[in-house]
Amino acid sequence: MTRLMKYFSEGRTSGKHTLPFVVILLGVTILASAANLFLPADSALYVSTYTITLLGKYLCYAMLALAVDIIWGYCGILSLGHGAFFALGGYAMGMYLMRQIGDRGVYGNPLLPDFMVFLDWKELPWFWLGMDHFWFAMLMAVVVPGLLAFVFGWLAFRSRVTGVYLSIMTQALTYALLLAFFRNEMGFGGNNGLTDFKEILGFSLQADSTRVGLFLITAILLAVIFVVSQKILSSRLGKVVLAIRDSESRSRFIGYRTDRYKVWLFVYSAVIAGIAGALYVPQVGIINPGEFSPINSIEMVIWVAVGGRGTLIGAVIGALLVNYAKTRFTAIMPDAWLFALGAMFVLVTLYLPKGLMGLYGQLMSKRRTANNSNNTEESQA
């Protein structure tokens, strides 16, 4: 058993970030929430609802980045279409919120959302049925992305579509969905998407407390998903996943049905993306086909790369940092922020090959090097 302990303490380093991460995440979240709800608006420590909403959005993105990192960083599947799963989760939530509007829409139609009224639809399409039930809608928010990921992954991985072929296919997938959702005939509000939400589970979406609530829920779910993912990835399954990344064919020759592992992980990742999307929509107040845009999906990959691929915490940090930079830059230098953001991407790639976490890793490895070279010395002796 002591050997086991030694093994875990020496061989692995990723697991040890989990606790600090969860503590910091939840700590900051709770403090910010409290500061928003209980401090007066003119207090120096007051956190505005704008900030809360923004943070909530960042956390959704962090969750999404996690999903991307799980399959890209750990399994080497570069998905350029994860926005699709995110958006589908978002649409499920959006449909629920749309149904919650009831007869408070501009046309006052109790059954049909406004966009259907003014396109002269007579009845609710079948796929909208049941979406007025919260839990059913939430089920859909994970089932639909999961199912899509399953079908797509099952086809692709069994046919051994890999590498750039897979990446571009995922891109084609999200692009096709983008075009499809743009179509008004699809019944999802076309280009405008779904918006003008009123309340969720009876809580007004415009109330500070609801926003704080959503923010807290996002943080907690992020923490849970982080811990669960960490556990999964440090289990033997995680090692198999890494093995598939390194050499898929070798993994098959020692008996792993790699396609199933990949499908499993892809679905898991898609479900996380779906959850992130579902949490995102009530906080930003709109879901529309733009979320399917391939550029969005590419950006997600970039968050992960900036933070450090193959480390869950890197994905989270990358998402937070890039999006914070975007928020700041678009406000401070609206005419030149693309220069700054573009330069940031280039510089990170050049100088931080393993992302921000790599920087941290470099510092750590200075220490570890000593150990390793000792090992080598001994073995040669």
Partner: protein, 293 residues
């Protein structure tokens, strides 16, 4: 891959649908236990009339090969004779054009994929050492352990102390005990060779296909490998491909010589070494003598 590509879309959809409704595929926990390998006839591997050509080039040509259970068989033959290709076919990496390959009497290997074949107990070491470069030596071995390789069992499995001991034993055997936490990618060529042998050992397969194990090893290491393989035979069946005649002589009971995709000769080492054809296409006039240090 090639098989899939050759089928029509409709056929494949049907196939996929059928596959989908195979309960053992969809629900891993419903899968029947693997039937044990039937070796009633003492034979563990039957390869018959195997043909395979690449763009007209016949890499395997009516190849027949029978391996007894527990045998240690050496496979030699000129570069390009088809040895590696044969292993590719046996392990499901390459689809052959025609022929049959049975593992025991009850497992047709030709309709199984790599993973299934590996799970049946056929292990392989590649000619060019392939290990998981980004993982530690220890993890490489852990992954190769003989365990339930399905997704959920793998997720919930934990290393047992016996497994750890087993890995430690192997680490010692392959001389990498000190390197257990080194990334496999950082090993030297020879060390990778050993690691790959180690991965075979922990998997405890019924049949080992070993492609050029001693390439890049020193004389002593070669000896050790020879001992190791000899000790495995009996309990396990071993097929070794090697060009090092000294090594082959030290382990071989039966030697099969492949040439241009079919069997040229089969027999004891002495018979082979005096076979004219073999000398001409493979050994060279004075080869055997020269090689001895």
């Amino acid at each position: 891959m090639s098989t899939l590509a050759s089928n029509s879309l409709a056929f494949n959809t049907l196939d996929n649908t059928r596959e989908f409704f195979r309960r053992d595929q969809v629900w891993p926990f419903l899968a029947p236990e693997q039937a044990a390998v039937n070796v009633d006839n003492k034979m563990i591997l039957y390869v018959e009339d195997l043909n395979l050509s690449f763009d007209g080039f016949k890499a395997l040509n009516n190849l027949n090969l029978y391996i007894n259970d527990g045998e240690l068989r050496c496979l030699i033959g000129a570069n390009g004779a088809g040895k590696t290709t044969l292993m590719d076919v046996i392990t499901g990496k390459t689809q052959c054009d025609s022929g049959t390959v049975f593992f025991g009497q009850n497992h047709n290997l030709l309709n199984k994929d790599e993973a299934e074949i590996a799970q049946l107990g056929i292990g392989r070491k590649f000619q060019k050492p392939t290990v998981f470069e980004e993982q530690t030596v220890f993890d490489n071995l852990e992954l190769s352990l003989k365990t339930d390789k399905r997704v959920l069992p793998t997720l919930f499995s934990r290393l047992t102390p016996t497994q750890i001991d087993r890995i430690d034993d192997v680490l010692k055997t392959i001389g990498l005990a000190k390197h257990r936490f080194m990334l496999a990618g950082a090993l030297s060529h020879g060390q990778k060779q050993w690691l790959e042998i180690g991965m075979l050992l922990v998997a405890e397969p019924r049949l080992l296909l070993i492609d050029e194990p001693v390439a890049g090893m020193t004389a002593q290491e070669t000896e050790r490998t020879a001992e190791l393989l000899t000790s495995l035979a009996g309990e396990r069946t071993v097929i070794v491909v090697e060009h090092d005649m000294e090594f082959v002589r030290s382990i071989a009971r039966t030697v099969t010589v492949l040439h241009q995709g079919s069997v040229l000769a089969e027999g004891t080492m002495d018979q082979i070494q005096s076979n004219k054809d073999v000398i001409e296409v493979y050994l060279g006039e004075e080869a055997a003598g020269e090689e001895i240090a």
